[in-house]
């Protein structure tokens, strides 16, 4: 079988805080194949951004040393030193559109320059050549090249989101990680940004990790879905499996909480709250909110394999073979 584009094995990350260790990412496994879009879906605080920052090595200073392996086309990029990571991987092969980055554009630099910057810094391209490429990616994300010379404040939120997307595309990376790219935007703007992503995926063959808390948005791009809960991935499925027949009890309850435009069934909420990541339970982290809880749930289920690529972290699915 072909080597996956990215394969993440038992990745963990803690933050040091005055209250103790926050276990933001706790033993995460997944893989992405070429041209595939994986959605990392999960509610606020479950560790999605921490996962993205761990992969890109852009962690804040109070973060501990990440554990686990991250293989990019088979090469362990966690083992690279910072300089090589910067020269070979970050932005060139994996780009990240950070959460709320459309509000973090440099206010005094024209957006065209900002989009061209990675090429100038990382590839040493001339200004003219980098600008030409910037114009190309503006086209790709659906902004008129007239906007190259504008400043961020002259652009609407939707336009700025396209600009940060252009910045991620400019080096033609194999993988783009998007952290909540549409959550601050209007319905219509959201839909047009999702259209841009779909088109890029189809035409450029780029792979994506799309991070979102919004179930409906997630279905707009996903080939596969990894559902996170309290620092762990509790289910990894194909989009068809996940949206039609979610397996984990949390996945099912989350789907039932989504209001639907064209359905009479009233959405229902999930009672309770996720556990603190300072002192998470040693067993299943969803157990105390789970209506199907039973005695085994006091122990960590690990991930059970269901079919070729489906994984479910729940004792109810112990019929499959256990991985870890």
């Amino acid at each position: 079988m072909a080597v996956p584009l990215l394969s993440v094995e038992n990745l963990s990350l803690n933050y040091h805080t005055r209250q103790g260790l926050v276990q933001a990412v706790a033993g995460v496994d997944f893989e992405i194949r070429h041209r595939e879009a994986l959605v990392v879906l999960g509610e606020s605080g479950c560790g999605k951004s921490s996962l993205a920052k761990t992969l890109m090595r852009t962690l804040p200073r109070n973060a501990g040393r990440p554990e686990g392996r991250v293989l990019l086309e088979g090469e362990d990029i966690m083992a690279l030193d910072e300089e090589r990571f910067r020269r070979q991987v970050r932005w060139l092969r994996i780009a990240l559109v950070m959460q709320a980055s459309m509000n973090a554009l440099n206010p005094v630099v024209r957006v065209g320059e900002q989009v061209a910057e990675p090429l100038r810094v990382l590839r040493g391209w001339s200004r003219v050549r980098a600008q030409e490429r910037a114009a190309e990616v503006f086209d790709l994300v659906g902004i008129s090249t007239d906007f190259l010379t504008r400043y961020p404040f002259e652009l609407s939120g939707g336009m700025r989101q396209r600009v940060v997307l252009a910045m991620a595309l400019v080096t033609d990376p194999q993988l783009i990680i998007l952290d909540e790219p549409t959550s601050a935007l209007d319905v219509l703007t959201q839909a047009s940004i999702m259209n841009v992503l779909k088109r890029i995926k189809r035409e450029q063959g780029t792979s994506f990790i799309l991070i979102t808390h919004d179930v409906a948005t997630s279905s707009e791009l996903a080939d596969r879905v990894a559902l996170m809960y309290a620092g762990q991935i509790v289910e990894t499925s194909s989009a068809a499996e996940f949206f039609r027949e979610p397996a984990h009890p949390y996945a099912r309850m989350l789907m039932d909480s989504v209001p639907r435009l064209h359905q009479e069934a009233r959405p229902t909420h999930i009672p309770g709250q996720p556990p603190s990541l300072l002192d998470p339970p040693s067993g299943c982290r969803f157990a105390d909110r789970c209506p199907q809880r039973f005695d085994l749930c006091e122990r960590d289920p690990g991930a059970f394999r269901k079919g070729d690529r489906r994984r479910v972290r729940c004792w109810l699915h112990a019929g499959g073979s256990q991985l870890s």
Binding site: N195, A216, S219, E220, A222, L254, S257, L261
Partner: protein, 335 residues
């Protein structure tokens, strides 16, 4: 209480609140003195809300939803038009009248995290409005406990001494709702009450609001940019675009038979979760919502409208038509 007598002569069919050709414009200046024009945030809004109904105002960011809410609350003075509350014109309320009016209209402001003062505990947060309205100590305590029960922060003793940062986002929003309810308003305006919350908490808060609305028979005006949340929590929908209401109907009627091209575009842009969504592009009208400083002439949606009739839509300002019984839409196609 002072409004008991006025409430007595109110008949049930009289609307609770009406907006009549309401306009709220903000003057835009540069360097404090150069007039650049007016932002027409609310620009000719008409509606009438019955007692005990739950309505949703839906529209994109910047279309004037919050400005409308704040005008209804008397926080902005209308540039033109009037708000009629229980038959009384707001423009004619004096200072006392305004104070009484504010007690009758509860407000859940946008941005729940900025909404609670960080240095007050829950008891003080809820006591404050009661003190302002002269409610005595033991009655205050009784009402605070009752309202905490009502928003399901129970037992109340677990919450009374907590500060906002000790509460989850959903719990904070319950405190905000409790504060809006504590003076027993007859109208509750909730501005994006759940947009900052997680999906699983969202439904819980909307359910709570809806149940309180039903039990208290209060009028609930809830503002959102997300049409998918309204189906189960509102009776009627007002769709806003660029400072105006462009379509109104009951929820099912509007969702099942949208008439205005803008509403149709909104609905087409929204997905229910489905794996097939990833397979095709969505139809989205081009362009962006217009500037409220210089809104387009004629129909404000015409520059983006796929059904735009040149020479008509860019000239004539559409009035409300009734393409289906009880269903209003401000679009010249219906003529």
């Amino acid at each position: 209480m002072s409004h008991a007598t006025s409430a007595a002569r109110v008949d049930a069919d009289q609307p609770l609140v009406e907006a009549r050709d309401l306009r709220t414009w903000f003057e835009l200046r540069q360097w404090g003195f150069m007039r650049l024009g007016s932002v027409k945030a609310v620009d000719g809004v008409n509606f009438s809300l019955r007692r005990g109904e739950s309505v949703a105002f839906v529209g994109e960011s910047g279309c004037g939803k919050s400005s409308l809410a704040r005008t209804l609350l008397g926080l902005h003075q209308p540039t033109e038009g009037d708000v009629i509350f229980e038959g009384q014109s707001m423009a004619r309320l004096g200072r006392r009248g305004m104070r009484d009016y504010r007690a009758r209209v509860g407000y859940v402001q946008q941005d729940p995290f900025g909404a609670l003062p960080p240095f007050l505990d829950v008891r003080r947060i809820l006591a404050e409005p009661l003190k302002i309205h002269g409610v005595g100590r033991s009655e205050r305590e009784r009402r605070i406990r009752a309202v905490l029960e009502e928003v399901r922060l129970s037992p109340a003793d677990d919450y009374l001494r907590k500060f906002p940062h000790m509460l989850s986002g959903g719990q904070q929003q319950r405190v905000v709702i409790a504060r809006a309810l504590i003076l027993e308003p007859s109208l509750l305006i909730a501005d994006e009450p759940v947009s900052m919350l997680d999906a699983s908490v969202r439904v819980e808060i909307l359910d709570l609001l809806y149940r309180i609305q039903q039990r208290r028979e209060l009028t609930l005006a809830f503002i959102t940019h997300d049409l998918s949340t309204v189906r189960h929590f509102a009776d009627r929908i007002f769709v806003m675009y660029a400072g105006r209401i462009v379509e109104t109907a009951t929820v099912n009627e509007l969702l099942d038979h949208p008439q205005h091209p803008y509403t149709q575009a909104l609905l087409a842009a929204l997905a229910d979760p489905d794996p097939d969504n990833a397979l095709e592009l969505r139809e989205v009208p081009g362009g962006e919502a217009p500037s409220l400083l210089n809104p387009p002439p004629g129909c404000r949606f015409h520059p983006r409208c796929p059904k735009h009739m040149p020479g008509v839509c860019d000239v004539e300002d559409p009035e409300n038509f009734e393409p289906r019984p009880g269903h209003l839409s401000a679009c010249l196609l219906h003529r």
